[in-house]
Symmetry: C2
């Protein structure tokens, strides 16, 4: 059934029923003029991020479930990057009236999955129609006993990231060639991946070990297998935000990698008024990403340094602390350099995704 046949108030009732909050700190949840929250006493964190159809996502390449999950994750990533605890979510959703109810249901399934994962409550939102494109925005409120800014890095600090870079950007490149949504399904035993044929709704389920059945022939010919591409697709479609709790007490500055290593590290350097030296060999790149980008004729290091949406954390900590993350370089007084394995130096600048600009 399409939204125009359901109407706003009926849709709102369903959402409200599904997301009744059971928390003693939520005094008023969805359904009044505003939500009312009991304060924790800690400082309050607030962030907002939007996802726009045709800009951030393509409905031919992503499922509503993945959209919902990702919308929450990207906001949680900002709260984590500040050293905080994510708590309360507000959603703004503009949908075309021809949208199917099942789309909305799956979208909220994804929202709910992410809420469970991060311990977040939905406390309010706004639902609107749109003439064409779907626009999603989420505001996330959290708290922090001690927050970590972008501005605390000092010369001598080491630079760390929490995981592989470029997987998401490479996943997006694969997805553009697969040209259909990729359904991620997890079983208890192992990760299984389900590819749904858009046209006839037949689907095939395969586990990590099996050979690709429906990976289109162009990709198979290149030597790509589901085993290689699945984790890359997952990182792009359903990124999980990284919780900094293991190293938070040592972090002097932090940012999440949403627009690419070079651009986000430049932001951290700008705010801290310092320079940085990155060792190219130390940048963590997954074997799968290296293989896939090589088979697709892409530059793996470019994806790792300038590809967006990694949602790993980039942070600095004093050199004498034992840190459970990947050491990629050092904070210096000034200059922004990347050092290759032979000790050759090159400048890097803030390059990565920028809205409004002609895409590179």
């Amino acid at each position: 059934m399409k939204l125009y046949a359901i109407g706003e108030s009926s849709l709102l009732k369903t959402i409200r029923r599904r997301f009744t909050v059971k928390s003693k700190d939520v005094i008023v949840g969805i359904g009044d003029d505003t939500a009312v929250i009991k304060p924790s006493g800690n400082n309050l964190l607030a962030t907002t991020d939007m996802m726009v159809e045709g800009i951030h996502f393509d409905l031919n390449l992503t499922t509503p479930y993945q959209l919902g999950f990702k919308l929450v994750s990207v906001n949680v990533s900002d709260i984590y990057a500040m050293g905080g605890r994510p708590q309360y979510l507000l959603l703004d959703i503009a949908l075309n009236k021809n949208t199917e109810q099942s789309f909305v249901d799956r979208f909220f399934d994804g929202i709910r999955r992410a809420m469970k994962l991060y311990g977040v409550f939905l406390i309010g939102g706004d639902l609107s129609s749109s003439r064409k494109d779907i626009v999603l925005a989420a505001t996330l409120i959290g708290d922090a006993k001690k927050h970590i800014r972008r501005s605390g890095a000092k010369p001598g600090d080491r630079i760390y990231v929490t995981g592989n870079l470029g997987d998401s950007a490479c996943g997006l490149e694969v997805l553009k060639r697969i040209k259909q949504p990729f359904h991620i399904k997890k079983t208890i035993q192992d990760a299984r991946y389900k590819i749904q044929d858009k046209k006839n709704h037949e689907s095939c389920i395969m586990n990590r070990a099996s050979e690709p059945l429906t990976l289109n022939s162009d990709l198979s010919k290149l030597g790509l297998t589901w085993n290689i591409v699945s984790p890359l697709l997952k990182r792009h479609l359903m990124p999980e935000a990284r919780n900094p709790e293991k190293f938070i007490r040592y972090a002097t500055s932090m940012i999440d990698l949403s627009d690419g290593l070079f651009i986000d590290l430049s932001r951290l350097c700008d705010e801290s008024r310092v320079g940085a030296k990155i060792f190219i060999e130390r940048i963590p790149v997954s074997g799968r990403m290296r293989t896939a980008s090589s088979l697709l004729g892409l530059d793996a290091m470019k994806l790792a340094c300038s590809g967006g949406e990694d949602y790993e954390l980039l942070f600095t900590a004093p050199a004498d602390k034992k840190i459970n993350a990947v050491y990629i370089g050092d904070i210096v007084k000034s200059g922004r350099k990347i050092i290759d394995k032979n000790g050759g130096e090159k400048k890097f600048s803030a390059s990565g995704y920028q809205h409004f600009e002609t895409q590179r």
Copy 2:
């Protein structure tokens, strides 16, 4: 200059410079992963509202300044309707890359004007491109020592509104016939209204007393004057949210009138599990609205009861309290009736604007 020639980061820098927060409670404002706020100790309120091009506004009928002002006002109205104090604003803005920088500048002028009026600080946001339509969302955080829900109305309470109903809906009807944006300009002495001719950018300034110069001939022929329509247009384009401080201590339930009296009163009754009796003669309607709707062949009472976007407050209070607002009816045990001047009763139901539905 258009946005694609300016780019996201340059635009963000300008916004950040313009909206540097000088408040001891804002520890981190725009420019980090999240904002950081010192808690007041009161309960926290949070609300969000969006405005979508082609649904909530038409750029042929509204200016960016008015859009910015209204976006803040509609969110403040929700905080006021909860009995709270508006404090911190986050914005989500999706703009077409062909949007002129001047549009963005004027939009933020409107935002800033409203922020000053309501004592609100901008602490964060997200800026995105969009393929076509402009989408605006604002999240407003506030606090309240004592919040007023929709659910506290008791049989015997009186029902009040804070001002004239239907002005905004009537203003929209006039605007659709004027077919051009209406520039509202206030001088120190009196309200002056400026009409800008879209085609040749000539403008004429007139005060309340003068006769219309550029009101198009169809409307002039009907007998409409700027004196009549200006306040109606202003209520639609730049609604000011109503602060409930004068009666807040007596209010038992409250809601803001965004979708129309009948629909919003029905919501209040639903939440309070009560009925309502409204006296049609008591519904406050401005003389200007009555005149304009009569000249335009519109039903003034329909606009007052089902027209949206009044942003007046609807609330209930015990009958024995002296309340500085307009008494329009009584809360009863059950039933929803409207009583005419002869004592005739008619049922009313939740009718007003609903997203996704075919418009009435």
